[in-house]
């Protein structure tokens, strides 16, 4: 079957029909047999182990050993991924056959894309080597991250709730119904979503900006030439980062406590009124932001300090010689240079703070309650509300739909950031 002058189209069609056939036609016999073996194994799997789960994924009906809707869905998703991975292999196999054939025709020893690759990887062992290095990570990440996330997304399109709750009940596909309920103008869900979303954005922005400003102020103070004991000041100021955040949050839970907390006692001692920290919606929000700033300032301080030290001294000297005032040299030199370095990190922390679950869950638990029946409290951000909807109210489907909305929000935001910071371009240039 092998031919000295293979035709790319023929090779492609052969490989499309049977993986490896095109390769064999091109004269790569071992490769062709290996590819055929992969396809054979896949076809056997498809009609044995994978059949029931794939059927279950489409219908969500009990099938074979799978009775619990969650198990049906999960097995179906794993099977679908196996199919997708094979599909990727099959397409790569077609592309490979076409390229090999055309490069043989052009009397090139190797296909174009192989020319770019280091000679070492032209051997079969060299081609597989990188995949062996990444296989353990990929395998674990596949089961701990990828499959569970796909499952979470899938739940958003089902009616998994208190009334359709396995193992007793079963849930079904309901399409976009959850999203329709969440986004329908005027509905109770939409009102709650708006309230939570607005506070979520305010919290993320306020927390990030305030912590940044505190970090900036402190690092500028520490940079000052006339200040002594810098090491001691720095160590003390870094402490909130060193203490595990969970511990700090629980400590603030005590500090703000209205029966025994010292903050109210101090306020009373200096002649002010006690504050209903966790009972009043505004004060609860203030307590959350204050705790956040206390915990995150050191991170900002250290990043800003590192950035400040990377600005060369000569620029300031030149500015001073030219008669710039301290304020001018700050606003015209330090700040712009600092922002160009710190901005990507700042955007990344903003995205992280958007989902900063721990502070709100452990400090206020989302409370105090707000009139309305969907359970979102005054300090609930999307993630704590989602958590509550899932674990407390067993509204898993609508909770998952909300989580998908959060994800879309964060991805759009982060993609802009990556575009700005050039991560994607850098990756492309590396290859």
């Amino acid at each position: 079957m092998a031919t000295a002058n293979p035709h790319p189209q023929v090779a492609g069609i052969l490989s499309a029909l049977l993986a490896g056939a095109g390769q064999a036609y091109n004269g790569q016999r071992t490769k062709g047999i290996a590819y055929m073996a992969v396809e054979a194994v896949f076809l056997v799997l498809l009609f044995t182990v994978l059949r029931d789960p794939l059927y279950g994924l489409v219908t969500l009906n009990p099938v074979g050993r799978f009775v619990d809707s969650r198990h049906i869905l999960l097995a179906g998703i794993i099977a679908a991924f196996v199919v997708a991975i094979y599909a990727w292999f099959h397409i790569a196999n077609i592309v490979d056959a076409v390229r090999t054939a055309s490069s043989i025709r052009k009397r090139h020893a190797l296909p174009d894309d192989m020319q770019r690759i280091h000679p070492e990887y032209r051997t079969p062992a060299g081609t597989i080597a990188p995949y062996l290095y990444i296989a353990p990570s990929l395998l674990v990440a596949f089961f701990v991250i990828v499959i569970p996330l796909a499952f979470g997304i899938a739940l958003a399109f089902t009616n998994y709730n208190l009334y359709h709750c396995p193992p007793a009940g079963r849930f079904d596909w309901i399409g976009l119904e959850n999203f329709r309920r969440l986004l329908k103008p005027g509905s109770l869900w939409k009102d709650q979503l708006d309230m939570v979303l607005v506070w979520n954005i305010v919290y993320a922005l306020l927390g990030t900006v305030l912590a940044f400003l505190c970090g900036l102020a402190l690092s500028l103070m520490l940079e000052n030439r006339h200040i002594r004991f810098k090491g001691a000041f720095r160590t003390i100021l870094m402490l909130p980062w060193a203490v595990p955040a969970t511990v700090s949050i629980m400590v603030f839970f005590g500090l703000f406590n209205t029966t025994f907390g010292p903050i109210n006692e101090i306020l009373k001692n200096i002649g002010l009124k006690a504050v209903p920290w966790f009972q009043d919606r505004t004060w609860a929000r203030v307590s959350v932001v204050l705790t956040h700033v206390w915990i995150s300032t050191p991170f900002n301080l250290s990043v800003i300090s590192a950035a400040l030290q990377s600005i060369p001294e000569e620029i300031y000297e030149a500015a001073t010689v030219d008669g710039a005032s301290p304020w001018q040299s700050f606003s015209k030199i330090t700040f712009p240079l600092l922002m160009s370095v710190v901005a990507p990190i700042l955007v990344l922390t903003l995205a992280g703070n958007f989902n900063n679950f721990g502070i709100i869950y452990l400090l206020t638990g989302g409370g105090p309650a707000v009139a309305g029946s969907k359970g979102a409290g005054a300090t609930d951000i999307l993630m704590t509300w989602v958590y509550d909807l899932g674990f407390q109210q067993l509204q898993w489907s609508i909770a998952s739909a909300l989580a998908v909305l959060v994800f879309i929000f964060v991805v759009v935001f982060s993609l802009i950031n990556f575009r700005l910071s050039g991560v994607l371009r850098q990756l492309r240039e590396e290859e």
């Binding site: 969650r70 198990h71 999960l74 990887y121 080597a129 990188p130 995949y131 290095y133 990444i134 353990p136 990570s137 674990v140 990440a141 701990v144 991250i145 499959i147 569970p148 996330l149 796909a150 979470g152 997304i153 739940l155 402190l218 103070m221 006339h226 200040i227 000041f233 003390i236 100021l237 870094m238 402490l239 909130p240 203490v243 595990p244 955040a245 969970t246 511990v247 629980m250 400590v251 839970f253 005590g254 029966t259 025994f260 010292p262 006692e265 206390w294 250290s302 990043v303 590192a306 990190i345 679950f357 452990l362 899932g390 909770a399 998952s400 959060v406 994800f407 991560v423 994607l424 990756l427």
Partner: protein, 288 residues
């Protein structure tokens, strides 16, 4: 004219002194804000359980009873919580390193189909709210028989840390010149030997940083722990502390404080002694 410059100098000097004093004042106020919550908890841990804890930093009848209690009271099993937490954090940090170091090496030193897609995929995984995974993780752990086991929790921590750790390690490996490995390979070393004998020793700082970050993360993690672990004997520190803040709590506060102090002190020491490395490890990619 000389008198003028002199007064000018004096004025500038005075202005500078005022500025310096203001900066000292600012720094001291910041230090007080930072230290008060920490010192308050420390002092609460020495306050008797009966009385009100109050705002003072110096306990009137200091006592070690709380510390004695957390090592003897079966309901506040500090040593067990601590041992569980230590085991989980150390093992998951090591597991993360073992899984991600070879992968980061491949991403940094090799070019292969799917490389860029996988790295971007890892980045996108980081943006998903972790909550979405919980139902599936619980089901998967159930299938594997790992509900209410430390191994289950360790796998979740190590797995969740993979994308972030690979990015961090890859960034560092990229900054180590490839020529050293190449010359070793000319001398007959295999690719794998170049990785283990040349690159890994050079990359020790980042290995420590990634290990440390993945130790500190699980050390006080609460959410996943609370989903996976149910029986009290397997509780972690965060779960134990949470149980003290939500149950009958005004009286439990000194006990909680003692647990917090003993939980935080080892981490504070570790963190402060390694702070320089952590900061440079985290910011290396961003600040060049």
């Amino acid at each position: 004219m000389s008198a003028n410059t002199a007064t000018g100098k004096n004025a500038r000097k005075a202005k500078r002194t005022v500025g310096t004093v203001l900066i000292y004042a600012g720094l001291i106020i910041a230090c007080i804000i930072v230290l008060y919550p920490l010192l308050w908890v420390l002092s609460c841990s020495f306050k008797p359980t009966a009385g009100l804890v109050g705002s003072s930093l110096i306990p009137s009848n200091p006592t070690l009873a709380n510390y004695r209690k957390i090592f003897t009271d079966p309901n506040v099993n500090f040593s067990r919580w601590f041992f569980n937490t230590l085991k989980i954090s150390v093992v998951s940090a090591l597991l993360t390193l073992v899984l991600t170091t070879p992968a980061a090496y491949a991403f940094s030193r090799m070019r292969f189909p799917g490389r860029r897609q996988t790295l971007i995929g890892f980045m996108i995984c980081q943006m998903f709210p972790g909550f979405m995974a919980i139902v599936a993780l619980y089901t998967l752990l159930g299938w594997a028989g790992l509900i209410d086991t430390h191994l289950g929790l360790i796998i979740l921590y190590a797995g969740g840390a993979i994308p972030f750790s690979i990015w961090l390690l890859k960034g560092y490996f990229d900054s180590v010149p490839v020529e050293i490995e190449e010359s070793a390979m000319i001398d007959g070393a295999t690719k794998f030997q170049a990785f283990t004998r040349i690159l890994l020793p050079l990359a020790k700082p980042i290995l420590y940083v990634v290990g440390l970050i993945n130790f500190l993360g699980p050390y006080a993690e609460y959410l996943l722990a609370q989903v996976v672990i149910t029986s009290g004997s397997k509780w972690t520190l965060a779960m134990g502390m949470r149980s003290l803040t939500v149950s009958q709590f005004a009286t439990d506060w000194p006990i909680f404080s003692a647990v917090s102090v003993l939980t935080a002190v080892p981490i504070v020491i570790v963190f402060l002694s390694a702070e320089k490395y952590i900061v440079s490890g985290l910011t290396r990619g961003a600040i060049k």
